[in-house]
Amino acid sequence: MLKVENLHASVGDKEILRGINLEVKAGEVHAIMGPNGSGKSTLASVLAGNEKFTVTAGSVEYMGEDLMTLSIEERSRKGLFLGFQYPVEIPGVTMANFMKLAVNEHRKAKGLAPLTAAEYLRLMREKSAIVELDSKLTARSVNEGFSGGEKKKNEIFQMAMLDPKLAILDETDSGLDIDALRIVATGVTRLKREDNATVVITHYQRLLDYIVPDYVHVLYKGRIIYTGDKSLALKLEKEGYDWLINDYKEE
């Protein structure tokens, strides 16, 4: 589904990604961990198509296509979803209205007719139940005045609405209380299928109790320096990153 090879990306003349290799297949869950500032969000942004970053080398293949030739919105419509580490507020634009446009753009790209008002309401009701999202929130402006936890739930709600092939969730577990974490994580698990894949970026192993990863990668200074199974997350939680990154510190 996704094949990243030797990906380098910079902002200005600062190189942030320095040779990423990553392959994600349908049905898999990957976790990406790593210390603050190691480039996790940057990787997610580059995959989503954020033009702030310049890809200087390497290639990314997504569903058999060269991902880097597609615009942000084309990537989205082809099923790539990014759950933002910091969801953005859009004053005056209701969640319901925003998602209606988004869902219909996705449908248009697939050659489908827009949903009728009734169909849309039904879809919204069904999907908001997955993350126990208060239905009042969909009548409010996008993320405006949402609590930290509500914002993260709202990301998963949008993911459910758009039914992506590849979801990259950037710290969707940060700032959640125990209940919200369970709800969000269960939501993600319920959206899991054989024909889609999930990449979760996280600092905490507790998320991985719910969303069991097939692979855990450690990103450090713009490279994936280690890949293991879910036991790696446990080890990192206990021992930190030092044992792994010592070799790289001098660079």
Partner: protein
């Protein structure tokens, strides 16, 4: 609501009671709204030079729309004791518009929500003067401007508080978004001669929020859609709170249509 109409005598003055009227060429230039009356006034692309007086406890709700170039207007509102006036103004064309308000009776209240949305090489100037001449009055002005292309917009607002106008409660806010080579100048002014007042004013000129555009595109909206939606959101509060509820939908449509040309 009862329809108010006038003889085809545009000169002189008239007194009206409760009802709704749509401004036309036949409207006299000076209209007094009777004490306690409730009047709705709709002005659509009608050049106006209108002086309104609200007698005590009168209520006036105005929806003012300018979508055609060159339709200039000046609106004067004089409020007596406990009178209340609420205005929504939506401008999508090149025009000069002025609103002059005098709060001349204790307890009077004035509210204006305005939007101008300019594209191409349109020029638009909006002036709002609010005079607090007596004590215990309230005024609110929120004006939002959006300009794209090489359009030029200007907002100038003055709040004047007379020495005797104690306990004045006034807010004036001008918020603007510019795109491309467009430019908006905003000049909010406060002139306060009383000491026991609550007055605030503010003005901002900014750009579209790139992060929000990115966010919307990540969900599948095109760049153009994302920009338009953001602007629609930016101005939405003004139209959704328009004082004549039945006009809200039309105002939303006017803005929506204009946005397609940005």
């Amino acid at each position: 609501m009862r329809r108010i109409s006038f003889d085809t005598q545009p000169i002189g003055a008239a007194v009206v009671g409760t009802g709704r009227w749509t401004l036309s060429e036949a409207t006299p230039s000076r209209v007094t709204i009777e004490a306690g009356a409730e009047v709705e006034l709709i002005i659509e692309n009608q050049p106006a030079k209108l002086q309104l007086t609200l007698e005590r406890d009168a209520r006036l709700r105005v929806v003012h729309v300018i979508t055609e170039a060159g339709v200039h207007s000046s609106l004067g509102v004089n409020l007596r004791e406990n009178a209340e006036c609420r205005v929504a103004q939506v401008i999508t064309a090149a025009t000069e518009s002025g609103v002059e308000v005098s709060l001349a009776g204790s307890g009077a209240s004035f509210e204006l929500g305005g939007v101008f949305l300019l594209s191409g090489d349109q020029r638009c100037g909006v002036r709002v003067d609010v005079r607090h001449d007596v004590s215990d009055c309230r005024s609110r002005t929120l004006y939002k401007g959006v300009a794209s292309g090489s359009a030029r917009g200007e907002f100038s607002g003055i709040v004047y508080v007379a020495p005797d106008a104690q306990r004045t409660d006034s807010e004036q806010l001008s918020r603007n978004i510019t795109m491309a080579d467009a430019h908006i100048a905003t000049r909010p002014q406060l002139e306060i001669y009383a000491d026991d007042v609550r007055c605030s004013h503010g003005a901002t000129v900014g750009q579209l929020d790139d992060q929000a555009v990115l966010y919307m595109r990540q969900r599948g909206l095109s760049l153009e859609m994302a920009k338009r939606l953001q602007i629609e959101g930016f101005v939405s509060d003004v139209v959704l709170h328009a004082p004549i509820a039945e006009c809200c939908e039309t105002l939303v449509e006017i803005l929506h249509e204009k946005l397609q040309s940005l």
